[in-house]
Amino acid sequence: MASSIENNNEKLTLKSSDGEEFLVEKHVALQSTLLQNMLDSDCSSADVIPLPKIDARTLALVLGYCKKHADASSSKQGELNSFDSEFLKDMDMGALFNLVLAANFMEIKGLLDIAAQKIADTIKDKPHQEVREIFHVENDYTPEEEAAVREENRWAFEGFP
């Protein structure tokens, strides 16, 4: 860790799946457990860290989040909270899923949590037909199977049509 402290102003280059490169400060990158582990185990000898699972648009969002949290780590929690809620506010589902995957891959716990929470809020208290529609989940149960699942946990479907 000592090296990462003294090289605090060092910059890393991250490369998205579509080839775009991002220059980030090290302390921002450290928000990601994945990158932190890479740096700790000295895998950073290569100039560019490829992130083949994340496209440029998502990576930009992720880094935006990381920067805010890295810079504001000492500032007020309330400010961060409002940033978090604003951050995901108008995001469409596709982008949200990308974000969740990216957060999961890069192991950014805070981001993963808020994104998962956002998706959970969408599912919450909606009848399952509606949930299927929103997420385009294809119902591959046979009617008999569906009835069996419903019977299995009858209480959970109470109150929904």
């Binding site: 496209d55 648009r57 998502t58 469409d92 589902m93 596709g94 982008a95 899923f97 990308n98 969740v100 995957l101 999961n104 993963l112 949590d113 998962a116 929470q117 998706i119 959970a120 809020d121 599912i123 919450k124 208290d125 399952h128 949930v131 299927r132 997420f135 385009h136 989940v137 294809e138 119902n139 591959d140 149960y141 199977e145 569906e146 699942v149 419903r150 299995e152 946990n153 009858r154 209480w155 959970a156 479907f157 109470e158 109150g159 929904f160």
Partner: protein
């Protein structure tokens, strides 16, 4: 990625399991389980969610909460909770689940009583360290019972989700849970020292065993209970104490400030009585003080008294705050659903304990000696119960019990002595002065206002002591002629009078083995009809074992555990062993090994 692609594709189902579970963990459990209907991909996803909350308030919406038609839903919910709990427990404890846990069988079967609200049930499990860790279900509701791993002697509190690995030496003896010990005569000095060395997140559980005769309380994992005091309380009706002088005199003359005086809140208590708990408070005679027992025929009839006893145990003897300690209560094998409910209600609502577990006496005894299967012969103060324990469960069908316990034997002894013209003078009824060195004078005192029940209580205390000191089980069935010439044993009563006890030494304990012997004791006639239906100890043991499955009989025979105060009677073990072998000789050859439970619960 573009949103139009998102629209046509089922993106969410393609997320990795871990991410989906993470999302589900942000949902109410009801919603999470509800997602199982979405598609086959989702069917079992929720089962991987690590935090579930069982909150049935979600079932009671739109004000139709106690609608009878909800029964099916309730049942389904209960069923669900049970399945999840069992699944989780198995995951956590592996094969130890059967040894370490006792799942309340009623819990599975119960149907909802609409009048009782089933409140939020909070479950926290330290799922990270499987076998090594303790595991708590803290159930803050009325209905359900908490259960915790009996395997560990200390618990972690709900806020600390995962706990540091336990000290190894503690976990090496996984089944050790100590309930009580052999002979503790006095209330021990209050102490909380045992707590201080523990890690910050660990507090030891408190164990309370409210027996019919004695209440034992202490810390789990210790060899002996910290507090042992009678299960009876003194009660003075406040109506009769309207006279202020009388009241003053009473409170002034309380000999020791430690005596527990628990005045009742007049508004709260309808009966307006003052209760005195603890052997010191009871040892002092008071005008009009009745001695009451909260338990009748193994069932708690007066919860107010029970509350006071718990208060005394926790606040006066152990000096702890019940909010901080998980609680383990020992209950009789025959405890009913209502009793458990009430107990849980009191514990959670009044004492606000973080976690509660009710364990059957027999199971605890069995675990205390490190076995999951055994036949527990519990001969206590009020009754004798024989309960086979298999894999940590009491086999209810095979439980045998008889009303012959220590108190009954004491009564027999007292009556028998009375018939010989010896009356036991209660300690309060005389004063004893040393007039010259070595020479004492006894002056009888007269207290007309002493109640009959207090006199009886005081006499029983003495009779109990005589019994403990001199009685021993005879090697062969008692018969009048062969024991008529045995030497007398002296016993000095509190008033200095020395009595000689002869054949009664053996006759009284033999009542355990041969209840019909009661007929020959003058003054016990009232029991004679009952005696006909009560069998002796060896017969009960054999009957109980014969009611069990053939496969486990052998194992039961090989580990018979004696517990309870009466069982610690001299020679009782040898006699029972001998009788059993005689009965068995004719039928099968079984090797019997014997173990007296290391920590015999005191119930003289």
């Amino acid at each position: 990625m573009d949103s139009d692609i998102g629209k046509s594709l089922d993106r969410i189902s393609k997320l990795p399991d871990s991410v989906l579970c993470h999302i589900l963990s942000f949902l109410q459990t009801k919603n999470a389980v509800g997602t199982s209907i979405l598609s086959t991909r989702w069917r079992y996803l929720w089962t991987f969610v690590t935090s579930l909350d069982f909150d049935d308030s979600v079932l009671f919406h739109d004000g139709n909460e106690f609608d009878g038609c909800n029964d099916m839903v309730n049942f389904s919910f209960m069923n669900f909770v049970n399945r999840v709990l069992l699944l989780r427990l198995r995951e956590l404890l592996g094969d130890d689940i059967r040894a370490g846990l006792q799942v309340n069988p009623e819990f599975k079967r119960q149907s909802f009583q609409p009048s009782v609200a089933f409140r939020t049930t909070y479950v926290s499990a330290s799922s990270a360290h499987a076998k090594d860790s303790s595991f708590i279900f803290a159930v803050s509701g009325w209905r359900s019972l908490g259960f915790s791993s009996l395997a560990s002697s200390s618990f972690s509190l709900p806020p600390s989700r995962s706990r540091p690995p336990k000290a190894k030496n503690e976990s090496q003896n996984p089944n050790k849970i100590t309930t009580a010990t052999r002979r503790y005569k006095e209330e021990s000095t209050p102490s909380r020292l045992s707590n201080s060395s523990l890690q910050p997140y660990e507090v030891s559980a408190i164990v309370i065993d409210l027996g019919s005769h004695t209440c034992k309380a202490g810390y789990a994992g210790e060899d002996a209970p910290k507090a042992v005091f009678p299960s009876v309380v003194g009660s003075i009706d406040q109506m009769e104490l309207d006279d202020p002088d009388n009241l003053d005199k009473n409170s002034e003359s309380i000999p020791d400030s430690k005596s527990v005086v628990r005045p009742f809140d007049a508004e709260k208590s309808k009966s307006k009585r003052k209760l005195y708990v603890g052997s010191q408070a009871l040892g002092y005679r008071r005008d009009h003080m009745e001695v009451l027992s909260p338990i009748k025929d193994g069932v708690v009839v007066d919860w107010e008294i029970v509350e006071n006893i718990w208060d005394h145990a926790l606040r006066d003897c152990l000096l702890i705050d019940p909010k901080e300690h998980p609680m383990l209560l020992a209950e009789p094998s025959s405890n009913s659903q209502q009793q458990r409910e009430k107990t849980a209600e009191l514990m959670f609502e009044k004492y606000k304990v973080p976690a509660l577990f009710l364990a059957k006496n027999a199971v605890l005894t069995s675990f205390a000696s490190g076995r999951a299967t055994s036949l527990v012969v519990d001969s206590g103060g009020g009754s004798t119960t024989i309960a086979p324990v298999h894999d940590g469960y009491v086999l209810q069908k095979a439980v045998q019990s008889s009303p012959i316990g220590g108190e009954f034997l004491s009564d027999c002894l007292m009556k028998s002595l009375e018939s010989k013209g010896l009356t036991i003078k209660p300690r309060y009824s005389f004063k004893r002065k040393e007039i010259r060195p070595g020479e004492f004078q006894t002056v009888d005192l007269d207290f007309p206002n002493t109640t009959e029940s207090y006199r009886l209580y005081s006499q029983r205390v003495i009779a109990g002591d005589i019994k403990e000191c001199v009685c021993r089980a005879p090697d062969t069935p008692y018969d009048e002629s062969s024991y008529s010439n045995i030497p007398m044993t002296p016993y000095e009563l509190p008033d200095g009078q020395t009595i000689e006890i002869g054949a009664d030494r053996f006759k009284i304990p033999d009542v355990l083995f041969n209840p019909s012997l009661v007929q020959t004791i003058p003054g016990m006639e009232s029991f004679v009809e009952t005696a006909a239906s009560v069998r002796g100890l060896p017969q009960m043991v054999i009957e109980s074992i014969n009611k069990c499955d053939v496969d486990i009989r052998r194992e039961l025979f090989s580990s018979i555990l004696l517990s309870g105060g009466t069982a610690s009677m001299q020679q009782l073990k040898e006699r029972l062993e001998k009788d059993l072998l005689e009965c068995l000789d004719r039928r099968e050859h079984t090797s019997i090994s014997w173990f007296i439970s290391a920590d015999v619960v005191l119930q003289v």
